[in-house]
Amino acid sequence: MSGAKDPNEDRAPVGEPEDAHGEHPDELLAAYADGSASAYEVAQVEAHLATCSHCVDDVVVAQGAIRALGSLPELPSPWVDAAAITVHGRGSEDAHPHVSLPSITDRRKRRNRTLAAAVGLAAAAGLVAVILLAGQGGPGGGASTAGATAPEAAGAPVVSKQALDRLTAALAGSNGSARGVLSAGSSGESAEPARDAPLPASPTIAPGAEQAVSCTRAASGQPDSAVVIYAAQATFQGQRVWVIGFVASPSSGGAPRVAVVATTVDGCAVVYDARQALAG
């Protein structure tokens, strides 16, 4: 339908009777109706209008449309968050802009030090998260093997509220065990931790996670700029849930914070929502 190569370009689209326009100088009528036609064009059009009541009607209708369009107000600025775009924009071309799942490689490229550090720290803490989740008696067995694979492979570990609290604390980097694992899993506390860490929120995130992230983002009121650092399925209070971790910088400034939200796989109801400032 579009593009310069379409040989049917000048035909009316489906649904519009072609004969309504077949013989009429539409190109000239546009400029005539809005007053931009040259004197020569005006003379041509008026010669046609003298014999064509159809075009006279169309010109009158078109002029009414021009007036109506001219009356439309200009809408106010949407205030795009340019800083969030520069952070997200370093990611993959294929990633949906509203579901930002940063990869390790992308993270390396990222320029925003604060957020990069925040994401790196929290992603490293994801290692702890897997262990915490797997350690709750899920069918996957021991933490060392279950944690090394995608969470689906380990089933959906049964987690308690306390486990999710610990996950939140771990993602925020504010508990001692998280720091311990962080330093064990990486060479020092850099923003470039544990590349081989079995992150459940890695870019190979399970199909379906994007939708879960998207509905969870909306259901828990996360800003569009919130970066997803964690996504895993679990069983919580007898329901299959998605556990999604976000890092967001408050628009008012201040330290980035972590949010961990669990939503039901069926219906995306929020069953757990904890927020914690990201530790140094």
């Binding site: 370009e9 649904g15 078109a62 809408l75 949407p78 795009v80 340019a82 509203h98």
Partner: protein, 211 residues
């Protein structure tokens, strides 16, 4: 409608492509209102227009390094915006919108009668076939010259003028005809394909196309 100057844009684009985030933020501030207005008039829903605007600037940020300045930045940005709107319309296709949910009133303080008149115009605009609508919005609302619309939509200028005339006529008749459904799904020609020439949207952009 005043267009931001191309020269200042070129300077900001060059800085932003080199990683200057303040320059990118300045570009966003200069153009976001036009992008948002174009998207809103194409889509008729504030939420969709915001999504489209965000998509546009994200694409823009990613493609800045490949923007070679052969065309005005505004022209390129308008093309990216039209494509973002087409993408959303395509996703929306199949979900037939109820008359009462289309469109939202524009978020602005206004006299009630004027606001209601502009809702009527927007509603009628949504009944204009998409290919005509993009040409009409670019020319009659965004104030782009016929020549610029031709470049943005990558079609001959004669086609632009025909589409604008037919689009205006369709709009005028829709305004006069009361409350029909937005577009009859049985005769809706559908959303056009994306306009080629956004650089990474096509694997082999021709030399005549915009970056």
């Amino acid at each position: 409608v005043s267009l931001p100057s191309d020269r200042a844009d070129a300077e900001l684009v060059s800085k932003a492509a080199g990683g200057d985030e303040a320059a990118f933020a300045a570009l966003v501030r200069r153009h976001e209102r036009r992008v948002y207005n174009l998207a809103y008039r194409m889509l008729g829903r504030e939420e969709d227009a915001r999504d489209a605007t965000q998509d546009v600037f994200l694409s823009c940020y990613r493609r800045l390094p490949s923007f070679r300045g052969e065309a005005a930045f505004t022209t390129w940005l308008h093309r990216v915006t039209v494509n973002a709107a087409y993408d959303i319309l395509r996703r929306r296709r199949g979900t037939v919108l109820g008359q009462d949910e289309l469109p939202e009133p524009p978020p602005e303080p206004d006299h009630a009668d004027r606001a209601s008149a502009s809702v009527d115009v927007q509603r009628a605009l949504m009944r204009v076939p998409v290919e005509y609508r993009s040409a009409v919005v670019l020319h009659d609302i965004q104030g782009m010259a016929y020549e610029d619309v031709a470049v943005i939509l990558n079609i001959p200028i004669g086609t632009v003028k025909s589409r604008i005339h037919r689009g205006r006529v369709a709009l005028g008749r829709a305004l006069g005809s009361g409350s029909e459904p937005p577009v009859d799904p049985a005769t809706d020609p559908g959303t056009p394909e994306r306009i080629r020439g956004e650089h990474s949207d096509t694997r082999s952009p021709s030399k005549t196309e915009l970056p």
